[in-house]
Symmetry: C2
Subunit: 217 residues, 2 copies
DNA sequence: TTAGTTTTGACCAGTGCGGTCAACGGATGT
DNA sequence: ACATCCGTTGACCGCACTGGTCAAAACTAA
C-alpha cells in the first residue's frame, strides 16, 4: 500500500479495496485476477500496480485491513459480560450485519483466508495472527456463557453444535434466497422481514434447547 | 463415449470415469482440466480424446452415467412406504453411503451440476432431467412422511428445516474432520464409529422434534 | 510554457488450456 | 520375416489469460 494510495479520496480507496476483497473472496488467491480487480474498481491496470507493489502485496494489505476492521468494528464491540447464549448470538449477528453493510466483502474475505490458508502461503507473522484470531472467533459464542440454562437431557456440546449448524444452514439458505431475488444493496429496511424471521427462529431454538423455566424469560 | 471405450476392461473404464468425476466435482466444468483427468487416470492425453469426442462430450457422458447410478442404486431403492421421518432419513443416508463406496464422486458430481448449472450451459434435454431430478430428490424426505409425529408447538416446516440444516452442518463438519485425518479409502469398518455418532444424533433429533409419546418407540 | 505527477492500455513473457496427429509398439495373419 | 492393423502416446499448435512493465498521454500547478 503506497503512500500515494493513502492520499486518495477515501471513495476511490474503498472502490479499489472492495473490488479486491470481492475478487479474492470469490475466487481465492490464485484464481483472483488483478485485471478484473482493476476493471471492477474502474481504474487502469497500471494504476493498480502504481498503488500496490504487486498481487501478493495487495493481498497482504487486504489481510491487514480486514483484521483491523474485524477488531475495531466487531470484536471490540462484543459484550462478553452478557452470559445468555441467545442474547450473545443475537448481538454478534447484529454486529456482523453492521460490519457487512459498511464492508460487504471484508468478513467473507477473512473467512476465506482462514479456511483455505493452504492455497496461499501466509508469512509466519500472519500465521500467528490467524491462530490467535481463530481462537478469539471460536470463543465468541462460548466465552462466559451460562450453559447451565441448556436442557439437561442433551449433552451441552451437542445442543451447542446443533444450534450452530441450524444457524449456519439458515444463513446459507438465506444467502441463496437473496441471490435468487437479485437484491444487490441492503438497506436496513429491506432487510427487516428477514430479521423478523431470524428472531423468530432464535426464539424457537431457545424453546428447544433451553430448560423450560428459561423459555419464557 | 466411443464404442472403443465400452470395450475396455471395466477397471480401466472406472479409473477414467472416476478421475473425471473427481476433477469436475472438485473444480467445476470450466476449471476442470482434461490434462489432469488423463494423468490421474494413468492414460495419455491423446487416449482420453480417443475415447471421448471432447471435453463437453465427456462431461455429457458423465452426467448420463451419474443419473443412471443415482436412479439404479439409490432412488429405486428408497422405501417410500415407510412413513416415519427418522427411519426414512436413516435409510436414505445408508443408501447414499453405499453408493459413495462404489462411486465416490458420482453423487457430489451430480450435486455440483445441480447447484452450479449456470457455469455450464446444459442442453435443454438435460435441463429437463435436472428439473425432474430436483423434484424427486426434494421429495426424498417429505413424500409419504407422517408429519403428525412432529411436536405441535413448532411449525412442522420449521422443524423440518432445522433438522435438515443440522444434518447438513454435521455432514460438512464430518467431511472436514475426515479430510484432516487424511483418511482416503473408507471400509465399512473404518466408518463404524462415525455411524454410531450419527445414529446417536438422530435419536437426539427425534427426542427434540417428535412429540413425547413417539420419542421412546 | 514548463516541470512534475498521476493514469493509462498496449505490450511482454509465461502458463495452462483443449485438441491434433505423426509416430510407435504389440498383436495378428500370412 | 513381413505387412497390416489398432490402441496409445506426448510433443506440438493456437489460443486465452495471467502478473507485471513502461513509454506516452493527461492532468496539475507554478
Amino acid at each position: 500500500m503506497d503512500d500515494a494510495f493513502k492520499a486518495l479520496d477515501s471513495d476511490k480507496q474503498r472502490r479499489i479495496l472492495d473490488s479486491a476483497y470481492k475478487e479474492f473472496s470469490n475466487k481465492g488467491y490464485k484464481q483472483a485476477s488483478t485485471n478484473r480487480i482493476a476493471k471492477e474498481a474502474g481504474i487502469g491496470k497500471g494504476t493498480l500496480f502504481y498503488y500496490f507493489t504487486n498481487k501478493e502485496g495487495l493481498f497482504h494489505d487486504l489481510v491487514e485491513e480486514a483484521f483491523c476492521i474485524a477488531d475495531e468494528f466487531f470484536l471490540k464491540k462484543v459484550d462478553f459480560s452478557e452470559t445468555d447464549f441467545f442474547i450473545r448470538l443475537r448481538q454478534t449477528s447484529e454486529l456482523k450485519w453492521a460490519v457487512y453493510q459498511e464492508h460487504p466483502h471484508a468478513l467473507s474475505f477473512m473467512a476465506r483466508v482462514f479456511i483455505h490458508s493452504d492455497e496461499h502461503n501466509l508469512p509466519d507473522k500472519l500465521l500467528l495472527k490467524r491462530t490467535k484470531a481463530e481462537h478469539v472467533w471460536g470463543s465468541l459464542l462460548t466465552k462466559n456463557i451460562d450453559f447451565s440454562k441448556f436442557r439437561d437431557d442433551i449433552p451441552q456440546e451437542t445442543s451447542f453444535n446443533f444450534i450452530r449448524w441450524t444457524i449456519e444452514g439458515y444463513r446459507t439458505e438465506l444467502e441463496q434466497r437473496v441471490k435468487m431475488e437479485g437484491i444487490e444493496v441492503f438497506t436496513n429496511q429491506a432487510f427487516e422481514p428477514y430479521y423478523k424471521e431470524f428472531y423468530s427462529y432464535l426464539d424457537t431454538l431457545k424453546k428447544i434447547y433451553y430448560k423450560p423455566e428459561y423459555t419464557n424469560g
